[in-house]
């Protein structure tokens, strides 16, 4: 018996719709190629090939002179310090705002008291501030702070403080709200203050989650502080930007290696801290 006799379709019945779908995607993406000035031939122009070959050629061997290593070590410490100080500042910004926006800590919410509407209104600006802080990317904050307080680590610390303050504040209040609210409510209804209700009714239960998220953010802050260096906010990134500008590949690859080690180290430290506090 032949295939025709069995009436088995030889061709893929879904071929046409699939082709049409693929065609549709390509047509949709087409203007994108124009907008991004997509042109791989640029990569193979003699001039750029030349620059690139010279630059990449210098990537090996790694730069390992004692003087440069000392410089890198200093920048690494600076990056760590920026991340740590930035996270500390972020907590200073986040905690008051988080305590204000956490609904389960609201006294006025309990009953139809005089402050009911007022409490609601007061939470709005705090919520808005948190949203504003975290919606602008940290590197944009860094660009702004570099112009406001000058080049150097101070701008990096402030940028991390503001962005991560917004993120931590939002997540802290979410963690507090997602925990069992009954102990805190009991304290509030028995006449306790907001701070007392937080300290005795929420803190003990929420602590592991709060710590683990804060440590995670510290880890992110290390990566962020390297990147912010590119706009002049100090640390390893600034060093890398300098080396790139001078087309010194050996220095760039040394710094990249240190960066990777640093990220791995931060990973380990944060895993350890989370294990200890869990």
């Amino acid at each position: 018996m032949t295939r025709e006799a069995l009436a088995i379709p030889v061709r893929d019945p879904a071929a046409v719709p699939r082709l049409l779908l693929a065609l549709g995607i390509i047509i949709l993406l087409w203007p994108g190629f124009k907008l991004t000035e997509f042109d791989p031939s640029v990569l193979f122009e003699e001039r750029s090939l030349d620059t690139m070959a010279r630059f990449v050629g210098t990537f090996f061997p790694l730069e390992s002179s004692a003087e440069f290593l000392r410089l890198v070590a200093r920048s690494t410490l600076e990056t760590l310090a920026i991340a740590t100080a930035g996270t500390a500042l972020a907590m200073l910004i986040a905690w008051p705002l988080a305590l204000v926006v956490t609904r389960t800590l609201s006294i006025s919410r309990i009953g139809p008291g005089p402050g009911f509407a007022l409490g609601r209104v007061a939470r709005l600006p705090a919520r808005f501030a948190l949203m504003f802080f975290r919606s602008i990317p940290e590197i944009v904050w860094a660009l702004i702070f570099v112009r406001a307080v000058g080049l150097g680590p101070a701008a990096g610390v402030l940028a991390i403080g503001v962005t991560y303050g917004g993120m931590l504040g939002k997540v802290y209040s979410e963690i507090l709200e997602s925990n069992d609210a009954r102990p805190a409510t009991a304290l509030l209804e028995a006449g306790g203050g907001r701070i007392a209700a937080f300290c005795y009714g929420m803190w003990p239960m929420a602590l592991p989650e709060l710590v683990s998220y804060s440590v995670y953010r510290w880890e992110c802050a290390i990566r962020a502080s390297v990147i912010m260096g590119f706009v002049g906010a100090g640390g390893l990134g600034q060093q890398m930007e300098l080396s790139m500008r001078m087309l010194n590949g050996g220095e760039v690859s040394t710094i990249l290696l240190v960066f990777l080690l640093l990220v791995m180290l931060a990973d380990g430290v944060s895993a350890f801290l989370r294990k200890v506090t869990a």
């Binding site: 907008l35 000035e37 100080a85 919606s135 944009v140 307080v149």
Partner: protein
């Protein structure tokens, strides 16, 4: 609290103190009356944002460029990622698997912004450098996710096709691909969402899009223009967030 907890707390406090000391940050001076006045003046200079139709058109163009960079970068990464994911999933033996994983790890561990700074050398200033930068980093991320998907997909349909005599390529296309395509699309869309945000800031090293506009205007001390760009970035992020949440809800239900 045990003694370990106290030790950890002490260490953290010491580390924080040491950080401030090492950076020689004088917070008192940073928040002194004079510095505050200066800061306030700087903040005020951002308002009102520049809304002349000329500049709005440029910002609109920058926004389109940002979206295009992210879309093309993600699309390229999807194609590259799928090709590297095949060896990385161990389909061609242990050695290609190790090599492919090494390549993916390398691509992934270099941040987008560093890639962008490198690509500006290779492709010149402009959006093409940003596109390539996103493509490299995203290939690393997506390739690993794809490889894991390929490893976890049931092998039976492919084996059945192979045993009944189809070629390896056809067995892959009809036995494996239909099972994994929804997952691959989900990963790509998820990375696209992240990349839109990334594309908005890559410009600060000269890789096109809104970031480049922002960098120019801040460098030229044109704060009102900078404010317009920042607002455009905020709108872009909020719209993307909203759209993705809405789509997810629709697709899940």
């Amino acid at each position: 609290m045990s003694i370990v907890h106290w030790l950890v707390v002490c260490a953290l406090v010491a580390a924080t103190w040491a950080s401030f000391a090492f950076l020689a940050l004088d917070l008192g001076q940073l928040f002194s009356a004079e510095a505050q006045l200066q800061m306030w003046k700087y903040v005020v200079s951002f308002f009102p944002p520049d809304v002349s139709s000329d500049y709005l058109a440029r910002v609109g163009q920058g926004t389109l460029e940002t979206i295009a960079i992210s879309a093309i970068g993600t699309a390229l990464a999807t194609v590259f990622g799928l090709f590297i994911a095949l060896p990385a999933a161990g389909r061609w033996g242990a050695l290609p698997r190790g090599v492919a994983r090494l390549v993916l790890n390398f691509l992934r561990s270099i941040p987008e912004l560093v890639w962008a700074a490198l690509m500006v050398f290779a492709a010149g200033l402009g959006p093409f450098a940003g596109t390539l930068a996103l493509a490299w980093h995203t290939t690393g991320v997506i390739g690993r996710l794809f490889a894991e998907t390929l490893e976890n997909t049931p092998p039976e349909p492919t084996q059945a096709l192979r045993l009944s005599g189809s070629s390896p390529a056809l067995a892959f296309i009809y036995g494996t691909l239909p099972n994994v395509v929804p997952q691959l699309i989900a990963y790509s869309l998820y990375r696209w969402e992240i990349n839109i945000r990334m594309a908005a800031i890559l410009g600060v090293v000269g890789a096109g899009g809104l970031g480049q506009l922002l960098y120019f205007s801040l460098s030229l001390f044109q704060q009102p223009q900078a404010m317009t760009v920042i607002i455009a970035m905020l709108i872009l992020v909020v719209v993307v967030d909203g759209a993705s949440a809405w789509l997810r809800q629709r697709l899940v239900n």
